[in-house]
Amino acid sequence: MHIVNCGAGNIGSLLNMLKFLNIEAKVTDDWRELSNASRIILPGVGAFDNAMSYLETRDGLIDELKNKALNERIPTLGICLGMQLLLESSAEGTSHGLGIISGVCERFSFDDNNYNVPHMGWNNVTISKPSPLSENFDEMRFYFVHSYYCKVSRSEDVLFTTNYGTNFASGISNGNVYGVQFHPEKSHKFGMKLLKNFMQA
């Protein structure tokens, strides 16, 4: 398992959980190292533009990431900001995303004072289409922290749905590429199951 270093992202908790699950993980921002990957996680906390410009400063990294995901069809999972980076752009910034999945990110905006932004806390996740990630779940409940959400162009790319004032895609997928808006590494048994499922994908 290779984890792509996107700069400021805090990956301590992800590494803690993978270690607990006995999954060997290497953190890298070097395309040569990434070219050995058999499974990739694109984590991320922070701002869209910061993460993209960090990736851009690493020579060949973005190309290799796209090559792995699109040509070699390696199982790839974007988490939170990492999911948003898979799309083409975000209202959070002006950078281009990776464009691996077609869509854009928009900001939550509510008139109702009952809905705070960021959307933060545990929320339910419903399955929009079957995938290896959601196997053997009776109930799906995960921890979220985000102000922007993914709007994919093709409805068949929606993997999971969550309601927060509006229904949004809390998971997306296209073939071997997956993105989840929530934090499996912070969602105890639910997150462990999802990461184990990703290992089988």
Partner: protein
């Protein structure tokens, strides 16, 4: 639907887990790493760790690291975080949120420094306050030891403006007293803020929380006594209600 939050607030005091009453008389509860491991097994959905040791200058990184290693839930830490560098170290251990209190009072720009780098969702300000006939309702610094001229609601709004993503509010008069939250101020603050608010100090039992969630817009509560004691006047018992019991109401 977003789940309402019942969050254990655990106090570290000189390397031990303790529970106070009105910020005084810390009582020994147990070893922090073991206790938090129990909470992890109980599938608690989030934990706040606050170091209240009197003379601490820097966080106890080793204990904090041990806690984070096996705790796969959102973790927040507060206690002698007074610089961006210290905050960075805590984040790197696997904590999601930094809680500022005295440091934010002394230097409000630390809120925006941390928030700009790590995001507002990672930046919490904790506000302790006390009511008195002479001084009115004032914010206290240094774990309740030092009165400031700040009023809690305007101060909370200022923190929000500076980039805080969440406020933890604690009534010193209610903390550890089993007599219910200071609901009046909590509701007023909830109405004024845009960001999430955790109300802490005095929760007596679960049905109290259920009613509060049902009747008010308060949607996050911090609990201490409730999850470390069997009941009022009885011994230590690490416990946490099953998720369903809060949601069914």
């Amino acid at each position: 639907m977003l789940q309402k939050r019942l969050i254990p607030v655990l106090l570290l005091c000189d390397g031990m887990l303790a529970k106070t009453q009105k910020f005084k008389r810390p009582c020994y509860i147990g070893d922090p790493v073991n206790t938090i491991r129990i909470f992890n097994e109980l599938e608690v959905d989030e934990i706040i760790v606050l170091d209240i040791s009197r003379n601490r200058k820097v966080p106890e990184f080793e204990i904090l690291q041990e806690i984070a290693r096996e705790c796969f839930i959102p973790l927040s830490y507060g206690g002698s975080v007074n610089s961006l560098e210290t905050a960075e170290k805590i984040f790197a251990l696997g904590y999601e949120k930094i809680i500022l209190n005295t440091a934010a009072i002394n230097n409000p720009s630390i809120i925006s420094e941390i928030s700009n780098k790590f995001g507002s969702q990672a930046t919490v300000v904790s506000i302790d306050y006390k009511k008195s006939l002479i001084w009115g309702t004032k914010v206290y610094a240094d774990s309740g030891r030092k009165r400031t001229p700040l009023d809690p609601i305007p101060w909370a709004l200022k923190c929000q403006e500076n980039g805080a993503g969440e406020i933890l509010i604690t009534s010193i008069d209610h903390e550890g007293c089993w007599k219910g939250l200071d609901v009046d101020l909590a509701i007023r603050l909830r109405k004024s803020l845009r960001i999430p608010l955790i109300c802490h100090g005095g929760v007596p039992n679960i049905s109290y929380v259920e009613n509060l969630f049902f009747e008010t817009q308060i949607n996050a509560v911090g609990v201490g006594n409730l999850v470390v004691y069997q009941k009022q006047g009885m011994g230590v018992l690490i416990n946490y209600p099953k998720n369903k019991s809060i949601e069914t109401k």
